[in-house]
Symmetry: C2
Subunit: 387 residues, 2 copies
């Protein structure tokens, strides 16, 4: 399906009718870092890329004009949440998720697989489907691979994820293998049922912390015509060095000409290390959720704005940051949080997402310059960023 | 002090060093409605004007770029709240309220007098001062006329209000008269202690629902060199027609060449009626507070967005409204409120404030055209706006 023409028209716009495809532009000399373009029906994404999380049809606290001004090119929406509220059929009737939220850039939707993990006590898994009891009203939502694709086709995202079975780590080897095997069968069912050729389908590699399982899953998934490959089931409680170990083992077994997406990660250092292992795409709630808790990311480390030491500080969070928050003093930002004003989370969300985009910009610049590995090393030695 | 030159420099900027002054541009033929310019050190305000309320150094939910894009020219800050948190001396150290919140247009600060009414159970009044027990931490705040001015000079607002004694309505005639007399003495003390000639001082007419008291107070205050005159102590629970009656009795006794400000009002119909009685300036939390409760103002009346009938409505709130919310469907806006997303209050605040500014624009256009009274009459007959 990659780069294939398609006669299926999208809903009345002049978008590129092909599914998202990847263009590999270059590689770092001393690491597996890659520079690329992800082309989608709603425009191009420079990779490595970070996707802000817009769970319920909005990146919390930001209007789309402000979201765009952070530099974000692609965002993520959540299938489970949108299926429950406002309902994917409703979103489809209203013209799809892009039109619903007025984000006209690329959107990736997850499949709900992560909620099998995060809402485990509300979910039951069979070979047929995951069944959730809604966190909103207790009603039942059955999420089969077929239903996960249908919801994502209703939403009209540029990239749909296959339904996968995510387990907590560590877990019994047998459980990890079963979930991995099921994820493979579910991935096939997703491919089989998909109706919208302009929507890219990404597979998800599972296998817990077992390198052999990961390699096995990556190799088996690679035999199918997926448009991209995600590494899932990480950043679920395991130590960061375990995640890096699994990435190092997995990415060499993924097709070089397809984009690789590390789901739900995360901290700046994790992103930097994952890029060095050949990851192209990221999403995480960290910049947005932390912003609402008054924690700012900067190149000099994190800043807790509720701390009293900022009460009279006339300096911005970061002299060089182009965001809306950095026009203000730390004293003002602190005041907003202490006074419980919405503008605190709004401004800090804009700052943190801008920081993450600036981080990705720097990453891409260093890959382009061929010195990514050295730069990462120097960051580890010199910078507070990773502390 | 009106229009007088002043040798007192402002804090290092090139702002107009004169206190705010009023330029009367025209009057309606068949009502007392007036068209004017309020000139301030931070720019000109077209009157009749509506000032959004920015209690704690922010208009809740809006960045300053979004606030500006509503069309707002002047905003209000609250002395009581800012004195408690973050403290006016701190705001002064950080360069004043304009710089603190990065609003470079005119700011009017109230005096805390309204909190004598609204926080009555936490306040004690003597001839010397009102003493509040903080609603935040229970600490004591003494607000004398002198202190109210000092705080406002710390904040550096363009227009400072004198401290007044606001009582609930109805109240015993004796209590209303005492509060009015005290407000007069306090107003004199405010004038006497003021140190910043570039900051305009507005007096506040009290007198409850007693026309004689109102006229008496207006006439006595008019003998002092205030830069403007407010009508206070209204919209505190009395029927709207009582407010209109008091305005009709009061404004003829205020200097024609000074701006008149009706404090804390209010509903679109109240603003329209007050303009017809010669009021030039307004402030109210109604558009912002209602926005956070999912109530939208439109020319066709109010819309309760939580109502299920909007769930599939692809129409905007108002086809002609230039705000950020009206790019979206009602269905999307409703979803945001139902899902508890911050973006709901943000977008609706932008809408309601834009609506209020469009209302003021229409008011000014009809005064300029000389048909304000007729237009108001036709609105009452034809429009749902006032329903």
């Amino acid at each position: 399906m990659l780069n294939a023409d398609s006669s299926a028209g999208d809903q009345g716009t002049s978008i590129d009718p092909r599914a998202a495809y990847f263009e590999l532009l270059g590689r770092d000399t001393d690491s597996a870092a890659r520079l690329g373009h992800l082309h989608t029906p709603h425009g191009r994404v420079d990779t490595p890329a970070f996707m802000p999380v817009g769970t319920q049809g909005t990146v919390k606290g930001l209007t789309v004009d402000h979201l765009q001004s952070t530099g974000a090119q692609m965002i993520l929406g959540n299938t489970y949440h949108l299926a429950l509220r406002p309902g994917s059929a409703r979103v489809a009737r209203l013209g799809g998720l892009h039109r619903f939220m007025l984000w006209d850039g690329p959107i990736l939707t997850d499949s709900g697989g992560f909620q099998i993990f995060s809402l485990a006590e509300r979910a039951k898994i069979t070979e047929q489907a995951a069944t959730f009891r809604s966190h909103i009203d207790g009603s039942l939502l059955e999420l089969s691979p077929e239903r996960a694709i249908q919801i994502q086709e209703d939403l009209g995202s540029d990239v749909a994820m296959v339904l996968d079975h995510v387990v907590a780590l560590p877990s019994e080897p047998q459980l990890v293998r079963e979930a991995m095997d099921r994820s493979l069968r579910w991935a096939e069912r997703c491919l089989k049922v998909a109706q919208r050729p302009e929507q890219a389908k990404f597979a998800i590699v599972q296998g817990g912390l077992d390198e052999e399982l990961r390699v096995d899953h990556a190799q088996r998934l690679s035999q199918f015509p997926f448009d991209g490959f995600a590494v899932g089931g990480l950043s679920v409680g395991e130590p960061p060095e375990e995640m890096v170990r699994i990435l190092s083992a997995t990415t060499p077994h993924l097709p070089v000409d397809k984009p690789r997406y590390l789901m739900g990660v995360g901290r700046p250092i994790d992103i930097l290390e994952a890029v060095a292992r050949g990851i192209d795409m990221f999403d995480c709630v960290m910049p947005t959720r932390n912003a609402r808790n008054a924690l700012a990311f900067t190149w000099s480390g994190t800043i807790r704005l509720r701390n009293a030491k900022h009460a009279d500080d006339a300096r911005p969070l970061d002299e060089t940051c182009p965001c809306l928050a950095c026009k203000h003093s730390r004293a003002y930002l602190r005041h907003l949080f202490i006074a419980g004003e919405m503008l605190g989370p709004i401004l800090l969300t804009h700052h943190n997402l801008t920081f993450y985009q600036q981080l990705m910009l720097a990453i891409r610049a260093h890959i382009a310059a061929g010195d990514y590995a050295q730069w990462l090393q120097s960051l580890k030695v010199q910078s507070d960023l990773l502390g």
